[in-house]
């Protein structure tokens, strides 16, 4: 370990295009086959790391690998260049088999400047490969990153396979002769890194060239990026620093047509599909907020689906627009993140009282307050469940993987429409920006979620005349009729004041209020009969059951698989419906001695399970703005099983993942 390679820029032979290189080297370097690799690109926010990671991901997806991604970027659009808080990174795991997580510790870390090294070195696995843009390790940049000593010149990188590449100067050499200004050449250095990693992992290059052509309208920029990419690729082939390359075969995935998709895109498309499946025009009221804005951007592109998107004056108005549209007969949707959900609370209560369908999407981020706008957390469960005044239950659906956001959106809309209720759909920053390959569904096989508007009078008044009662319920679903403006004879008034069951007239009597409170609660509770039962993954006869919800799915899946391969028996139930919970859940969980709930909060679901079922569920908590790693949850499983029986223990915390920036390895369960 600790081999340190140094290259001087001028010594590397540069060639124009890849084919030439390959023909020059009669014996291409040999390849080693890998089953999977985790690569992390890290650089300054201005270095284009998200673009680089995205492109590498797309190439790998098209090549047929299974993959999962974790983009991480600062909240500042341009944090002070070269500083640690300006570091933007993109982690991707690619494999030849089914995977669900972006990987725990990367085996390859590409760093474009000292700050990126400082921020992300602790993530790299011991002995991992460190590819460094050595040009940036100047006194000034070292100083900005807070290094007092050049880490390339001391022994701090011992323990890693370090490859120093002067990417900036090599990019300049490749692009300046083509007419690119030296200053502009610097901007293409991420393509050099992409080219080098593409060579190292034997990625096809055609699609990247085609993408560069499509993405960049400026011809000189296109030329520069292609030249930088080629230079990086050829550098890999010719440099003596890298004696061989790697191959990761396509994964054996179920046959069919795939696309690579992020959670926010899948969620937006799920809303598009839900509108089609319900035969209703979609109306999105939204206010820009990270990390939800991409759903607004995506839906705004699809007006030919009859989708109206309005960027409202504030979060409250955004919810109001959606509710107004729902009253008028549209599929009303509003999208936001935690702080916005807080503002929408009053409107959601009105929707609940009006008993109109509405979809509220919350892409959770680190809170409270502005918190960590670009980092993930799943701590809005409490506000989704309880964050309204009065007795105001509503259904909650939680998405669990980027691609599954599509199905989750359709399911949330199905419930909203059928039961005439606002539904909160929870996703989070990790799902929103993370991506994975998605086996495309056949639109014809998607569920029909259409509902009928009321067109006829439904009641006879005391004088024997027909009349319309807006709160006369469907006895099975307890849903009220949805009579939209424009329907003759069914004119009616709804409002936030308590209304009489049936007639909908204002009614303040004790009996009626009590009845309405119970009816609204019964309606939501009854949805339990209309959702799938909880099912156990893993060992039915295990002592330990893991309850998961939301994006913890990926890490739990990996941890359960690994534990079971080691011979540990473990069961797992993953919840997609948060309110109401599956009606068999209590009975299922009571079969296990121990129940742990990994959550990216301090135990919000754990408390619901404890109070609902009087089960001694314990939380495995992590609140670091990051998803769980599989290793952390493997550790939590071991710890839970080692634990003495928990009778009499009043605590709810099973284990707590504390993340220390200085640790060599992100902490396992502690």
């Amino acid at each position: 370990m600790g081999r340190l390679f140094l290259v001087k820029g001028g010594q590397v032979p540069m060639t124009d295009i890849i084919e030439h290189t390959e023909s020059k080297h009669s014996e291409p370097k040999h390849s080693e086959s890998l089953t999977r690799v985790v690569i992390r690109f890290a650089g300054d926010s201005g270095d284009g790391m998200q673009l680089t990671g995205d492109r590498f991901t797309s190439t790998s997806a098209l090549f047929g690998n299974d993959l999962s991604t974790l983009p991480e970027y600062p909240a500042e659009i341009r944090a002070p260049a070269g500083t640690v808080h300006g570091v933007s990174s993109f982690q991707v795991q690619i494999s030849d088999h089914d995977i669900t997580t972006p990987g725990d510790a990367p085996s390859v870390l590409v760093v474009m400047n000292p700050a990126a090294l400082k921020a992300d070195l602790s993530r790299l696995e011991p002995g991992g490969m460190l590819i460094i843009n050595s040009d940036t390790f100047t006194e000034r940049d070292l100083d900005k990153a807070g290094y007092t000593e050049n880490p390339l010149e001391n022994d701090s990188l011992n323990g890693y396979r370090t490859v120093l590449v002067p990417m900036t100067s090599l990019t300049k050499e490749a692009t300046v002769p083509l007419g690119v200004k030296p200053r502009d050449a610097d901007r293409s250095k991420n393509f050099f890194a992409l080219g080098l990693i593409s060579w190292l992992y034997s990625r096809p290059t055609e699609s990247t060239f085609a993408w560069i052509d499509e993405k960049f309208s400026n011809e000189l920029v296109r030329t520069a990026n292609k030249a930088a990419f080629t230079a990086g690729f050829n550098f890999g082939e010719t440099t003596e620093l890298l004696d061989h390359r790697y191959e990761i075969e396509p994964a054996h995935m179920p046959s069919g047509e795939y696309t690579n998709i992020t959670g926010n895109t899948a969620l937006a498309w799920g809303i598009v599909a839900a509108g089609q499946l319900a035969h209703l025009p979609v109306f999105l009221g939204s206010y820009p907020i990270t990390p939800a804005s991409d759903i607004l951007h995506e839906l705004a592109k699809h007006k030919h689906f009859g989708i109206r998107t309005v960027q409202a004056e504030d979060e409250i108005a955004a919810a109001g627009l959606a509710l107004g549209a729902a009253f008028a007969g549209h599929l009303g949707v509003t999208t936001t993140s935690g702080p916005g959900l807080a503002l929408k609370s009053e409107t959601i209560s009105l929707a609940l009282s009006l008993e109109l369908p509405m979809l509220i999407v919350d892409i959770q981020r680190g809170g409270p307050s502005t918190g960590l706008p670009t980092k993930t957390e799943a701590a809005d469960l409490n506000i989704a469940m309880f964050g309204r005044h009065g007795e105001s239950p509503l259904p909650i659906v939680a998405a669990y993987s980027p691609a599954q956001c599509f199905d989750a959106a359709i399911e949330a809309v199905r419930i909203a429409l059928k039961y005439r209720t606002p539904v909160i759909l929870l996703s989070d920053g990790y799902l929103a920006n993370g991506s994975e390959p998605w086996l495309l569904p056949d639109p014809a096989a998607l569920p029909d979620i259409s509902v009928e508007f009321a067109t006829e009078m439904n009641h006879i008044d005391d004088d024997g005349n027909p009349e319309f009662w807006p709160y006369l319920r469907n006895p099975e679903t307890l849903a009220r009729p949805w009579a939209i403006p424009g329907t003759p004879g069914l004119m009616h008034r709804v409002g936030g004041l308590e209304k009489e069951d049936g007639s909908g007239n204002i009614n303040y009597t004790p009996e009626n209020h009590s009845k309405m409170i119970h009816l609204r609660a019964a309606k939501v509770a009854g949805i339990a009969n209309d959702i799938p039962d909880a099912t156990i993954v893993g060992d039915e006869d295990a002592d330990l059951c893991i309850v998961g919800w939301g994006s913890t799915w990926a890490a739990i899946d990996a941890a359960v698989q690994r534990s079971r391969r080691r011979g540990t028996k473990v069961a797992w139930v993953h919840l997609t419906h948060i309110n109401p919970l599956p009606k068999n859940l209590g009975a299922v969980l009571k079969r296990f001695q121990k129940v742990i709930v990994p959550e990216l909060n301090l135990g919000q679901m754990t408390r619901i399970i404890r109070s609902e079922f009087l089960i001694d569920a314990k939380v495995v908590t992590k609140v670091a703005g990051l998803p769980f790693t599989a290793l952390e949850l493997e550790g939590a499983i071991i710890e839970a099983l080692q634990d003495p029986p928990t009778a009499g223990d009043p605590g709810v915390v099973a284990s707590s993942v504390l993340v220390s920036g200085d640790s060599e390895q992100q902490g396992a369960a502690q």
């Binding site: 030919h304 569904p441 004119m491 009616h492 204002i506």
Partner: protein, 338 residues
């Protein structure tokens, strides 16, 4: 949806709900004017929606036999925007008050006006919070002694019309609760206007702010205090039309005696002027309720309405991209076969 309009009467537009405002409230007169006007507008009840926020005035939708929503304090313009943009075929009315529209819901009001959403907004201005039993409102005068301002309010009030004009409203008018004919005429014009129409109605709260407008709207005071604006006509008023309004060389409006300046010097009201500064000056001619105050339509200009803009983009997108195709959408970021 019905295509034919049947002839209706006021009774057809009146719901079966008992009206529950305080006896003597100015709101009764406004409700009466609206219910009497509706049959004259040639619109269908089922295509009409009244949306309100919270406050005394906001009970209004319950009394109209149309579709209606009594919503959240301040939020009616936002909810009504959702209805109007979703369904440009509907007649959407917003009923709000000075607290609902200018305090808690000020943001939604100015943005509905800015966007020129096709709404008819009736703002009942009684310069007080009635439903919460008498606190000062954003239109209460400085010094107003109420339960929440026992030493007198120190907040300078909003001028509702100036706010609306500042928000680029395309139709701005003022009327008052004691003149049904005037109300009906102003409401008629407001309804006919495509886009956002804003009407301030001076309305007496006989319980918490009785007589606030008597000096200008009282039967005896009206001739000398109400300046009836008529598009294209000189701005003049008084028992014998002896007073008038002129614009001074400094751009300021002044009330003068016509005999002193001559007919030709009078300001000619132009509600259709693209530039709102004249309407703004008229809106600010009176700064209290004890001096001559202009009424009528201050501004009425054509501007694209928001809902039509949204609908046009939908059509343009369909023309460009063809019919919706979910299968194609799912493949739009590239796909591969396994």
């Amino acid at each position: 949806m019905s295509d034919t309009i049947t002839i209706t009467t006021k009774k057809d537009w009146t719901s079966d709900q008992e009206v529950r405002w305080c006896p003597g409230c100015g709101d009764y007169g406004i409700l009466q004017a609206v219910q009497m006007l509706m049959p004259e507008l040639g619109i269908a009840r089922e295509n009409t929606v009244f949306v309100s926020g919270i406050g005394c005035s906001s009970r209004f939708p319950y009394y109209m036999n149309t579709y209606g929503m009594h919503s959240i304090h301040g939020r009616a313009p936002a909810i009504a925007t959702g209805i109007a943009v979703a369904r440009p075929d509907l007649d959407v009315w917003v009923v709000t008050g000075d607290g609902d529209g200018l305090s808690i819901g000020g943001n939604h009001l100015i943005h509905a006006l800015r966007r020129n959403v096709n709404l008819t907004i009736l703002m009942f201005n009684n310069r007080i919070y009635g439903l919460t039993k008498g606190q000062y409102s954003p239109t209460s005068e400085v010094g107003k002694v109420t339960k929440s301002t026992p030493m007198g309010s120190i907040d300078p009030p909003f001028n509702p019309l100036a706010v609306a004009l500042g928000a680029e409203a395309s139709f701005v008018a003022r009327t008052h609760d004691l003149d049904r004919k005037h109300m009906m005429e102003v409401f008629r014009q407001a309804h006919a206007h495509r886009g956002a129409s804003f009407v301030e109605i001076l309305q007496n709260c006989n319980v918490f702010n009785d007589g606030a407008f008597t000096d200008i709207t009282g039967r005896e005071s009206r001739p000398e205090m109400l300046i009836d604006l008529k598009h294209g006509e000189p701005v003049r008023f008084g028992k014998d039309n002896q007073h008038g309004v002129v614009m001074g060389p400094d751009g300021q409006l002044r009330i003068v005696e016509v005999a002193d300046v001559g007919d030709d010097a009078l300001l000619i009201h132009d509600a259709h002027r693209a530039d709102p500064s004249l309407a703004f000056a008229l809106a600010r001619l009176s700064t209290d309720d004890h001096s001559p105050t202009p009424f009528g339509v201050f501004r009425s200009v054509e501007r694209p309405d928001y809902g039509s803009g949204v609908a046009q983009q939908l059509l343009a997108s369909s023309a460009k991209k063809g019919p919706s195709d979910l299968k194609a959408l799912l493949r739009s970021n590239g796909s591969w076969q396994v």
